[in-house]
């Protein structure tokens, strides 16, 4: 069970993010503990996605994006990781819009292992089957692993993306509104998987479904207009024990 003494996986100190002068995140401080599911809720434009991008240094690819402050991953500032690729390979990311790469389903899931230098067919087979099963996609694609990943349906592509992220065997899994493209039944199946995965990794769950955060997250942060309004035990947040009226209003659906 995660509690206050669990070591921090991720430490965010005074984080500011802006795009060409326009602030996306300002003054965020929080720490995410190992093996917890950390929920982030908040309306559109709250800075949730920018927050995730800063963590695995995707800001490098966006010359407009400026990140200030410290992000400590395993106690080490992400900007001081000499090998940025080693950092990213430890962090799995799933973004709202599914991306099936234009290669076979099998190759999609085997890609990360191949990047790590794994070549044996048997080992790759094992990884592919395990990750697709966990992402609740195996039964649907096991007979056509050679179809193009980019031609699967939207929901299938999203689960393929999740399988790909899991194939990295990440220490940290970041999910950004993963359920947008997935039907409710599959969403529930993936949620069950996430509960199991908690024992292996730390999970950040950005979601626009407050009930999803309630079902899964140990603690939940509420972001609004680039500000982290409140962080609390999820149960407390949903039972009215909020310290800020705006959080209360949001979880009860009065705005956003």
């Amino acid at each position: 069970m995660v509690n206050d003494t669990t070591p921090a996986k991720l430490e965010i100190q005074n984080l500011n993010i802006s795009y060409g002068g326009q602030t996306a995140i300002s003054g965020v401080n929080l720490s995410i503990r190992e093996h917890e599911i950390f929920g982030i809720i908040g309306p559109a434009n709250a800075g949730k996605t920018s927050f995730l991008k800063a963590i695995n240094r995707m800001d490098m690819f966006d010359s407009n994006m400026r990140v200030e402050g410290d992000i400590l991953f395993n106690g080490k500032n992400v900007r001081e990781w000499r090998n940025i690729y080693a950092l990213r390979s430890r962090i799995g990311v799933v973004f709202p819009l599914p991306v099936g790469l234009p290669m076979s389903v099998y190759d999609n899931v085997a890609l990360s292992a191949r990047l790590r230098g794994i070549k044996e067919k048997a080992e790759l087979d094992l990884i592919v089957e395990r990750c697709l099963t966990r992402a609740a996609l195996w039964d649907e694609v096991k007979d056509r692993l050679d179809t193009l990943g980019s031609l699967l349906s939207g929901g299938q592509q999203q689960r393929l993306t999740i399988a790909r992220a899991l194939s990295q065997e990440p220490e940290l899994l970041m999910l950004d509104e993963f359920s947008i493209a997935v039907d409710p039944v599959t969403t529930m199946r993936i949620e069950d998987v996430l509960k199991e995965l908690k024992s292996e990794m730390t999970i950040i769950l950005v979601t626009n479904l407050v009930q999803q955060a309630r079902r899964l997250a140990d603690r939940t942060a509420f972001f609004l207009d680039g500000e982290c309004v409140e962080i609390a035990q999820t149960e407390a947040l949903f039972t009215g024990q909020t310290s800020d009226q705006r959080t209360q209003d949001y979880v009860e659906g009065r705005f956003g």
Partner: protein, 289 residues
């Protein structure tokens, strides 16, 4: 009950008129191609034979075949490709995948546009100065092919860059997110999906360099040579220059000879273009996203 108003009718008349105009303009395009091809086939078709393709010109180039010129053009094009394709693709990969958006990159892009705009005779003189004289390659296939390569480099670079850019950005980000380096991303995702466009550019380059005359006439192609080239340091005959020579420089050439040479030259280019089109259609059939 609906009835067409005056305005509706007027719009419809304009629509018909504009459509006819555009069809006519597009149709006009076919005309020169048809005229050129029929003239060539009508006047030069008779001389075509296996012998014409595979024997030396004889009797002061007024009789015989075109074999040294045909082989020379193949030499020139292949060597030019060997130089410009690796160079062009590497440059395009840098510009599309690595280059930051700054003044340096803009300068390179400007240089490419300008290189494409340089007249071929200027390329010829540059090749003469740089490769024949300065680098002391002499008039040789190497010097001529280098000149052709530089001239056609923009074609390869632009075609490659465009086809790399056509691969959706989301694919790259998905790879980077997994910890792939830029090169791993390029090799596994971007390049495999850009191959058809790149090959189209290469084939365009082939047709262009096969037909060019000016860049090779100072740098490596000769009027007449009884010998076939043995290596890249040899001089050679070439189809385009041979056509120029038999049409204007040699007296008493039978009329069908230049037409035959032109027909073979244009045939080479058309065959390459058809391969390119067939290849593109084949790849388009396998839609990937």
């Amino acid at each position: 009950m609906f009835a067409a108003t005056e305005l509706n009718k007027k719009n419809q008349r304009t629509e018909k008129l504009v459509r006819i105009l555009f069809v006519m303009m597009a149709g006009l395009l076919i005309l020169p191609v048809l005229i050129i091809l029929t003239t060539l086939v009508y006047k030069g078709g008779g001389i075509l034979s296996i012998d014409f393709l595979f024997t030396n010109p004889t009797n002061g180039m007024t009789e015989g075949g075109i074999f040294p010129a045909l082989l020379g053009t193949i030499w020139l094009v292949v060597v030019a490709l060997l130089i410009s394709v690796p160079l062009g693709i590497a440059a395009a990969i840098y510009l599309s995948e690595y280059a930051p958006d700054n003044w340096g990159t803009r300068l390179i892009n400007l240089a490419i546009i300008n290189l494409a705009g340089v007249p071929s005779i200027v390329h010829a003189l540059f090749g003469l100065g740089a490769f024949v004289i300065f680098f002391e390659f002499g008039t040789s296939i190497l010097a001529a092919s280098l000149t052709l390569a530089i001239m056609t480099l923009p074609v390869v670079i632009v075609a490659t860059r465009e086809s790399l850019q056509a691969v959706p950005h989301a694919f790259r980000e998905a790879c980077w997110n997994m910890g792939a380096t830029r090169w791993q991303t390029i090799r596994r995702v971007v390049l495999p999906n850009a191959v058809s466009g790149i090959l189209t550019g290469v084939i365009l380059e082939v047709s262009r360099s096969a037909g060019e005359t000016a860049p090779i006439m100072f740098t490596g192609a000769v009027f007449f040579s009884p010998f076939l080239p043995q290596g890249v340091m040899d001089q050679t005959m070439a189809m385009s220059l041979h056509l120029f020579v038999v049409s204007t420089q040699v007296p008493n050439v039978p009329e069908n000879l230049p037409y035959g040479v032109a027909l073979v030259l244009i045939g080479m280019v058309l065959i390459m273009n058809s391969i390119s089109i067939a290849f593109r259609m084949h790849l388009r059939g396998k839609k990937k996203w």
